[in-house]
């Protein structure tokens, strides 16, 4: 098994893309579905960026250029596998079946948001879909994946825990801790490092002096592989292999999915401050959407008509989801006080009453002011 992975590691990061045949057993149908989701992901990113610029939403952190790594890996997992996100993987959740409107509810932080407007946009979650809660602190989710995998192993469940994180996150405490433990206990964990070449403005050359992030595996007794993250078929194959290894008791795999962030870090970022147009253009040519589309068109599994259809569909769906989410009310004041504990203790009940009183007073004085103006 390891041998076939090794060959992927050596696949050069260049065009032309590998033929679908190289992807082994991946069906063209699956790849076409992944492409459809990549297009959807990109459409959503572009739309949300506009909404943010218009001041209609507060923030968005997108996946432009990284759709192949994210959706290829997601497609290689089973629904039962734990999927532990970083903050850039909203498309993975949607791929698993999360309703688009619920995702928009989260972006708007409205009363139907699963997390009740408590977190920033894109910090979404779904227990039903085995998709953990997004956290902002970089890297903290990596040890959680180790624990989820540990539980699966101890309970004898046939599932793995796959965790996404960035190149910057490899410097975090949790990366180190997670690989140390997963290595020693041979836990069924898939460490998916989206190397998008930047931690906000800091390039990989200033993040780590190792030649590859995959090279870190050896220090933990963990198989480390570098995969062309813009080659979707390679991603699917590598993640499937890693998953099979994990379930066979062969332990965790660290997969460096080498890709590139084509957008800013988030809607708050201006990437022209730290990277050249030349670099950007060079990577844009390796866009995973372009590559997969080309491969599938050659194989007769994709067409302009299918693409137009996919785009029309997401456009309609998203318009509706946005207008519905935007129209919804804020979460109620009670949402501030619930879910701190399973049962609300006395001091939170008291503070909730305080907050209600403050709201009532504010409303009253607002009403009074309005009254003044009426006069």
């Amino acid at each position: 098994m390891v041998d076939s992975l090794e060959s992927l590691r050596l696949a050069p990061l260049t065009l032309p893309p590998p033929t679908p045949a190289k992807a082994g057993t991946e069906s063209l149908e699956l790849l076409a579905n992944v492409l459809r989701w990549m297009l959807r992901s990109r459409f959503i990113d572009e739309r949300l960026e506009k909404l943010q610029r218009q001041g209609r939403i507060g923030f968005h952190v997108g996946a432009l250029g990284e759709e192949g790594a994210i959706l290829g890996a997601t497609a290689a997992l089973k629904a039962d596998d734990w999927l532990v996100p970083c903050y850039r993987e909203f498309a993975a959740l949607l791929y698993r079946g999360y309703p688009l409107e619920r995702y928009l509810d989260n972006v708007y932080g409205n009363c139907d948001d699963v997390v009740q407007g408590r977190q920033m946009p894109d910090h979404v979650t779904s227990r039903a879909l085995n998709y953990l809660s997004v956290s902002s602190p970089v890297g903290t989710q990596i040890t959680h994946a180790t624990g989820l995998a540990w539980a699966a192993k101890l309970k004898g469940e046939r599932r793995v825990a796959a965790v996404f994180f960035g190149d910057g996150a490899t410097s975090s405490n949790d990366f180190h801790a997670a690989l140390t433990i997963a290595g020693v206990h041979k836990l069924p964990t898939l460490f998916l490092c989206r190397n998008n070449h930047f931690a906000i403005s800091v390039p990989t050359s200033q993040q780590c002096a190792a030649t590859t992030f995959a090279a870190k595996g050896a220090g933990y007794g963990v198989l480390g592989l570098k995969v062309d993250g813009n080659d979707v078929a390679a991603v699917v194959a590598a993640v499937r292999e890693a998953r099979a290894r994990a379930l066979a008791g062969e332990g965790p795999t660290l997969l460096e999915l080498d890709t590139y962030r084509l957008g800013g870090h988030s809607t708050s970022d201006d990437p022209t401050r730290y990277r050249s147009q030349d670099e950007f253009e060079a990577f844009k040519a390796k866009d995973p959407v372009i590559r997969l589309r080309q491969t599938l068109v050659q194989a007769g599994a994709w067409s302009e008509a299918l693409e137009a259809d996919a785009l029309a569909q997401i456009k309609a769906e998203l318009s509706q989801a946005v207008s519905r989410a935007e129209a919804k009310a804020k979460p109620p004041l009670s949402s501030v006080f619930h879910d701190v504990y399973a049962e609300m203790p006395w001091h939170l009940r008291a503070q909730w009453r305080e907050a209600e009183a403050a709201c009532t007073a504010k409303d009253a004085s607002a009403a009074a002011e309005e009254g003044d103006q009426d006069v």
Partner: protein
């Protein structure tokens, strides 16, 4: 004096530790260490989802031998020696807890909890809230705590205030074997993350009866360890015995002190506290940790909010000083009975 005090039993109405004074058979008497060990064994036995993990907890049963024998009995899959990473112990335990297990993680000394601080305060504490209740973290973190064993800066700390300041956590400090047993079982039952601080100064110095069964001591209920009418003295952990000794000492001067053993620090039992202060009108809080921003300050503020008009004297703190914990002079640093007694006298006589 203080050494002797640590060996004494709590007095008062708690009942938990009265057996020794009545001369009960030694078989019924257990140390704090034995009580915790027994509770862990009960929990491991009752629920296959319970696991114990930490540095040195399995093969040698922990550096204080609190988990002794558990690996032999329950196997290395359920009593696990981990690599030396507190970040990893707590981070992985959170993952386990999310997956439906009930990890009981040990941090070898409370002083070494900080590498896991981010996981505790940013992750475990906020997981239920930030996932809208989709996920929660039923995690217990046990850790030896407090001074008095000549541990210097790094084997003596009492960091409870840091966790009380963090919404989403519960904080427990038992002082008697029975409470250690019953509170730990409640902590393991609890659906939310609980910090369980074990006062190591009295790990073996205190003995008392422990129920053979799995009776729970509910969280967030304080215990009146000694009834009195003149001053309320609040304490927890090892300092409870210092407070009781001080209460006994000032009783000779006719000062009738009520001693409250908080047991659960957060969420605190405000009712017991308020009722006591309404009765006595005077408050002394004992805390091992450094003074500034410690839990004593919170208790005083709560009393000001809930019972200000009943206060007949300024509420006082007897605490560790705002310095790192010293080695040679630790008995000058700790808020031992002498210092508590002086504060009780001052507070009682204030007019």
């Amino acid at each position: 004096m203080s050494e002797a005090v640590a060996l004494r039993q709590p007095g008062g109405s708690g009942g938990a530790a009265t057996a020794q004074r009545r001369g009960a058979e030694p078989t019924g008497e257990r140390t704090l260490v034995q009580a915790i060990n027994a509770a862990l064994a009960l929990a491991l036995e009752a629920d296959p989802n319970v696991v114990v993990l930490g540095e040195d907890v399995a093969q040698i049963g922990g550096v204080f031998r609190v988990t002794e024998g558990l690996k032999a009995r329950f196997g290395q899959d359920r009593v696990i020696d981990t690599p030396l990473t507190e970040t990893g112990i707590i981070g992985a335990a959170i993952g386990m807890a999310i997956a439906g297990m009930k990890p009981v993680a040990e941090i070898q000394f409370a002083d070494f909890i900080y590498p896991a601080f981010d996981q505790i305060v940013n992750e475990a504490a906020k997981y239920r809230y930030r996932s809208g209740g989709d996920f929660h973290v039923p995690l217990v973190i046990r850790t030896p705590y407090g001074g008095g064993i000549k541990g210097g800066h790094y084997h003596s700390q009492s960091p409870e205030a840091l966790f009380i300041h963090t919404p989403g956590l519960k904080v427990v400090v038992p002082a008697t074997p029975a409470d250690a047993h019953g509170l730990l079982l409640s902590a393991i039952d609890d659906p939310d993350p609980v910090l369980f601080f074990e006062p190591k100064r009295i790990y073996r110095a205190v003995k008392g009866p422990v129920p053979a069964g799995a009776e729970r001591v509910p969280l967030s209920e304080a215990r009146v360890a000694r009834r009195g009418r003149a001053v309320t003295c609040v304490a927890w952990g090892a300092m409870l015995y210092e407070a009781l000794a001080a209460a006994a000492a000032v009783a000779d001067d006719g000062i009738d002190v009520e001693v409250i053993d908080l047991r659960t620090l957060w969420p605190v039992d405000i009712t017991t506290l308020r009722q006591s202060v309404e009765k006595t009108g005077r408050l002394v809080v004992v805390q091992e940790a450094p003074r500034a921003c410690g839990f004593a300050a919170e208790l005083i503020s709560l009393v000001c909010e809930h019972a200000f008009l009943h206060l007949e004297a300024p509420p006082q703190r007897v605490t560790g000083y705002d310095t790192p914990f010293p080695y040679t002079l630790e008995h000058d640093y700790l808020p031992l009975a002498d210092r508590i007694a002086a504060a009780l006298r001052g507070t009682a006589r204030f007019a």
